[in-house]
């Protein structure tokens, strides 16, 4: 007897509510501003801006625009392809933008990936990067990416 196997597939449509703070963060991206929110207790500027500091369990207060340059804290080079996303290889990394207290994730461009090992070794030096916005911003995290500054 041949053991039976059947194919399965999940494809549900969800509607996710961003809430007030994230909606404002994404709206600011449309205006080419990356915003952080300040925790009144620890003083950290949290990026992406959010409604509360989970470390202090306190509602954030002031919103501030953080710098458009920063340091690539860590990264990885991905070879996995996902529907609707750019084709690999992709560099994704966490960047500590100037004036921010937490790192923010995005794609990193401006490096030759024809030799992945060489690219990786270059990125291990924690280089400076700058924010580059798309021509048409639509209020999504993909409105911007990071571009490697010249060595």
């Amino acid at each position: 007897m041949e053991p039976l196997t059947i194919e399965g597939h999940w494809n549900f449509d969800y509607t996710y509510y961003a809430g007030e703070s994230a909606s404002r963060f994404f709206d600011e991206l449309r205006h080419r501003r990356i915003m952080g929110s300040t925790c009144p207790d620890c003083g950290r500027i949290l990026v992406p801006a959010r409604g509360f500091c989970d470390t202090c369990f306190t509602a954030t207060t002031d919103w501030v625009q953080v710098g458009d340059e920063g340091t690539l804290e860590t990264f990885t080079i991905l070879s996995t392809s996902f529907p609707g996303l750019p084709e690999p290889p992709l560099v994704v990394g966490y960047v500590m933008l100037d004036d921010a207290s937490t790192a923010v994730l995005n794609f990193v461009h401006g490096i030759d990936l024809s030799d992945v090992d060489a690219a990786g070794r270059r990125l291990l030096t924690r280089p400076r990067v700058r924010v580059a916005f798309r021509d048409e911003c639509e209020g999504r995290i993909t409105d911007f990416s990071f571009v490697l500054e010249p060595a």
Binding site: W10, V47, T55, G93, V104, L105
Partner: protein, 344 residues
Amino acid sequence: MRPVYVRGSAVSVGWADRSRSLTDLIFDCVRAALGDADVTAAELGAVVLAAHDLVDGRGLTSMVTAQAAAAYLKDETRLAEDGATAFVLGDARVRSGSVDTCLVAGWGRASEMPVDEVSHALFEPFTTRPLAMTEIAVSGMRAALSLATYPDYDRHRAALAARRKDRPPARTPGAAWPLRTGELPVWSDVVAAVVLTSRPTPVRVLGVGMSTEPFEIGDRDLLALPALHAAGGQALAAAGHVIGDADVLELDGLTAFDEALAAEAVGAADRGAGMALLAEADRLNPDGGGAAGYCDPAMGLVRISRARERLLRGGRLALATGSSVVAAQTQAAVVLGKETAWSR
């Protein structure tokens, strides 16, 4: 509070056995654990299960699978968490006196699912999923940060990879530089089960701990793993021991870098020396860790079971840990002692 003992355990690791369904695999492993404990299903006072709907590809998966884990007409708790967390809850059930005997089980069958896609779906939809994040991507970032911070990691990773070279490449995740094949988990069909009891056995649960980090990975200390540091510290303090007393280390980590950093987080290695400890292998994950077979959310319970086995073979004191999705956000730690360790 009553003392708690591990009375039996079992682990099964395989791949795509088409003759066995998921419930067959669970039934086989749970029955083996009950047999090891010399306990019948009827004697169980409670059952705690660790399973993920996304991993199993079944909505409310425990409704389908619980009976295979001896939960019929039982006091049953279902956790979408790592098996080590389920163990902590099972320990609490026995320790509090509410039940005498508790089964803890966890499973995941990687051969049935698209692992990278499921891992991608775990991330939140606004700021991380659109950027191709997966569990292995975070591990890749931890690895990059390790190499940038600790020069010794690069020196010892080759020795470790050589020890773990015999692996099926088709069962490893998509590449995330700087991770190499020998450092990646080997996806497997994994079931683990443990029987806890208030009646004395050679292996006693001396302490447990749990802790959780922020969800935002950009907020986390990816090298220090503060939740694991806290959980391990809690478990050791409850046991009245320090990490230097533990001759058995079974630390869960998705990749070799995660295992090495875990050793540092619990204090078993100095900062930057975790990879060297892992490469030596005798004290930490000698079965190969994630390279011996991996699938969430069973792995913390696998590490606990392996710790028990090592204690029964002559070990004295064990620290075992389990980490949850997303990207080891929640950590659970367990200290087990053999009779000679806790009866001094």
